[in-house]
């Protein structure tokens, strides 16, 4: 059914970049203050659990996207209706990320440029890549994964050399106990970034080596999770929790502080590149998931036809979802505890349950028929 194939290495890279996406920028778990990094670290395990849900469904229906098994499990109409809801959700998620990059680049680097042009450039380059197909996106991800890793290694090296890291700024660990941390875990860090992985429920059928999906998925979550824990930790040790919580783009502020031998300074480009690369792939994944959903639901043969119209929709949505950037961020917090849990946990859990019961029932039936025949 699916012609294009991506390797597990490419899946790993894509998953990594997806998780880095906007989190390196907007930050997550900051309700836990100094312990945000712990909240993110714990979030990884929530992420793995979520991935197990998607994997369970994938294992049962390896050729189908979420839409496909939703229709199989709940019938053509109810399943189709829930599937239909996923389309605006995925478009909304893509538009949010696009808005993030537009807003942040506008606030920090290109202050005079209208964010429409930043977002427009971004979405049309993504559209072009997707037009060329999923495989191209995956291969691009592989290359940029290397770049991001090099950038983060360079960045870390410079942070250590510049002597800006002051571990004292995250002490005492757990100043207010576990409570705020746990709260930040389930209100923020599980959903963002890990809950957003629901988009991969639409892309898993493209992976060519099915046996490796679980292993690659979990290692991808672990690696990216540890990296974002690390980057949050660095931000906190360099800037201090006060500055991090009031920064739009903490990583950029932290990197601007680097001064080594009056020679290596003004390294803004590292932060901005990481932001742009991460958001590119994150938006692309949501975007492509939306395309897959539409194509599956409405039985569109040629997915390419959907790409450019959807680009326009995402771009337009990214502009109208909020009046201004603070409103956008505020809405994001709201979405994280309402819309995202419903789509990332609620429905997949429901499917899981139904699939599990069906499986049991069919086994039972199967077992009984076996018994009957044996008699």
């Amino acid at each position: 059914m699916v012609k294009e194939k991506i390797s597990s290495g490419q899946f790993f890279a894509l998953l990594n970049l997806f998780v880095f996406g906007t989190i390196l920028v907007v930050g997550s778990g900051l309700d836990a203050k100094k312990d945000a990094w712990i909240a993110i670290f714990i979030g990884i395990f929530g992420g793995i659990l979520l991935f197990m849900i998607y994997y369970y469904l994938y294992k049962l229906y390896p050729d189908l996207s979420l839409i496909g098994y939703s229709q199989k499990l709940l019938g053509k109409y109810i399943g189709g209706f829930i599937g239909l809801l996923y389309i605006p959700f995925l478009i909304y998620a893509a538009a949010r990320d696009l808005r993030d990059v537009g807003g942040l680049i506008g606030a920090t680097v290109l202050s005079q440029t209208p964010s429409l042009f930043v977002s427009g450039l971004m979405i049309f380059s993504i559209a072009y890549v997707l037009y060329k197909g999923m495989e191209v996106l995956a291969r691009t991800a592989e290359i940029f994964w290397g770049l991001v890793i090099i950038l983060s290694m360079l960045g870390s090296l410079f942070f250590f050399l510049s002597g800006l890291i002051n571990i004292k700024q995250v002490l005492p660990v757990l100043e207010f106990g576990w409570e705020p941390v746990i709260q930040a875990v389930y209100t923020q860090t599980i959903m963002f970034p890990f809950g957003e992985m629901v988009a991969f429920a639409f892309l898993l059928p493209y992976i060519n080596n099915r046996k490796k999906v679980l292993k690659t998925g979990i290692s991808g979550i672990l690696v990216s999770g540890i990296l974002i824990t690390y980057s949050t930790f660095i931000n906190l040790t360099v800037l201090g929790v006060d500055v991090v919580t009031r920064s739009q783009f903490p990583l950029l502020s932290a990197i601007q502080g680097i001064e080594i031998m009056e020679l290596i300074e003004h390294l803004d480009v590292i932060a901005v590149l990481t932001l742009v690369i991460g958001v590119f792939f994150k938006t692309a994944v949501f975007y492509y998931a939306a395309i897959v959903a539409m194509a599956d639901l409405f039985k569109v043969e040629k997915k390419e036809k959907l790409i450019f119209p959807t680009a326009i929709v995402i771009l337009y949505t990214s502009i109208i979802i909020a009046d201004n950037f603070p409103a956008h961020l505020d809405e994001g917090k709201f979405a994280l505890i309402t819309i995202f849990p419903l789509f990332a946990v609620g429905f997949p859990m429901l499917y899981c349950l139904i699939a599990f019961i069906k499986e049991k029932a069919s086994k039972h039936k199967h077992g009984r028929t076996n018994k009957n025949t044996s008699v």
């Binding site: 005079q112 450039l121 002490l171 005492p172 201090g240 500055v243 502020s253 502080g257």
Partner: protein, 401 residues
């Protein structure tokens, strides 16, 4: 085919429109680099007077255009306004070029403003994307930032550079001043249990001359900038200047001393032995006592003998031990004095409160609210270990018989 061409054409049109990036382009000759920013308090025409020091590129790099060498390397502009931004924008009435802030090296705050409170000035420095967290904060002692920035100086072409380097070099070789980044200043300002401090700069020989090129054409300039003193803040207001040994005492505690010169007594002659401290490491910990937490300071010093003005035999191990003991005692006294001053002003520039929070979070929660009453009473134990490791190129000093 025609359709394909149309698509290609459309895409090219979109790309052309998007890729030019015309909005944020800046041509080199349209803007001027700001080397320093000075902020003063004024009564009339607004709250602040902002002074900026713009670099005149041809005069700095040299070359044909600067052949005369007469015009100054930098120009000072200032304007007043209710907010910093409105004052900065007002400067554009005087300059032909746009101001460009990312390379600002120092931010000077006039003493009057510092005394009346600088809590509001950091918002712009954090919020505006042109400012970085790296400029150093200096306080113009007994003067305005405007006057301080106006003094031209020999050796360095750009006064801002001169300010920065003077403060850095004297901090490194004398150990009585400190270079504080905006980020650090702002962080201490907003954190609990620590107050910021900053170094001062003052003008020696204030004269009109200092502002003109002729000042630096003499071997003894009429006006000079001097880096001196450390300003203690309390709730965003400058409360006290400390200088020399007192300043050093503070810097010892916060572990910001690289090198310092200490004068000790030798036999009967007082202040006749110069010891150069080459390395100091300070750590402090909070520990629990029955009432409130207390602080343990541990200082480790390495030193060498620089100058001997008496008959002391520094080649003798026992006299080295004596020097070490004296140095320990001296450092301890300086630290005690510094802590006493900070307690008098009730300004915890050392971050003892932070240390208590870090190490005894439970105790901190109890005392956080009335820390102001606790800090002046805080028990502080000081332990100093000094090691003299070198005595220079000679063993004993020459005999004066």
């Amino acid at each position: 085919m025609a359709k394909r061409l149309l698509v290609v054409f459309l895409m090219l049109a979109v790309v052309c429109a998007l890729l030019t990036g015309c909005w944020d382009r800046k041509e080199m000759d349209d803007f001027s680099i700001v080397a320093a920013l000075g902020i003063d308090k004024v009564e009339d025409e607004g709250r602040y007077e902002v002074t900026i020091e713009l670099i005149n590129p041809p005069e700095v790099v040299g070359g044909k255009e600067a052949a005369s060498g007469r015009s100054s390397t930098t120009t000072i502009y200032s304007a007043k306004g209710d907010t910093l931004v409105s004052a900065i924008r007002r400067i554009s009435q005087q300059t032909p070029r746009e101001t460009f802030f990312p390379y600002t090296q120092v931010i000077i705050i006039g003493e009057e403003l510092a005394r009346s409170g600088i809590e509001d000035i950091f918002d712009l420095l954090e919020r505006n994307q042109e400012f970085r967290s790296t400029p150093r904060v200096l306080i113009a002692k007994d003067n305005t930032a405007k006057n301080t920035l106006s003094i031209l100086s020999p050796l360095e072409k750009i006064p801002a550079e001169k300010l920065l380097k003077t403060s850095k070099v004297s901090g490194e070789s004398l150990g009585e001043t400190i270079s504080v980044k905006v980020l650090e200043f702002g962080r201490k300002f907003t954190s609990e249990g620590i107050e910021p401090l900053a170094s001062g700069v003052s003008i020696i020989g204030q004269s009109e001359d200092g502002q003109s090129q002729s000042n630096i054409e003499q071997t003894t300039p009429n006006s000079l900038i001097k880096s001196e003193g450390v300003a203690l803040f309390k709730k965003g207001k400058l409360v006290r200047w400390v200088d020399r040994e007192e300043a050093r005492g503070i810097l010892y505690v916060i572990n910001k001393i690289d090198r310092a010169i200490v004068t000790l007594d030798c036999n009967q002659k007082t202040k006749a032995l110069s010891i150069s401290v080459t390395d100091t490491r300070t750590t402090f910990r909070a520990f629990k006592t029955e009432r409130t937490p207390a602080i343990d300071i541990h200082v480790k010093q390495e030193a060498e003998v620089e100058e001997v003005l008496c008959e002391m035999d520094v080649a003798d191990r026992h006299s080295i031990l004596d020097i070490e003991k004296q140095l320990e005692e001296k450092t301890k006294q300086e630290i005690e004095k510094a802590i006493e001053i900070a307690k008098e002003e009730n300004s915890d520039v050392f971050g003892f409160g932070e240390a208590i929070n870090r190490e005894r979070p439970k105790a901190w929660r109890d005392i956080k609210k009335n820390y102001e009453e606790i800090f002046p009473e805080l028990e502080v134990n000081i332990q100093v270990d000094a090691y003299v490791i070198k005595t220079g190129m000679r063993k004993e000093t020459y005999r004066r018989e």
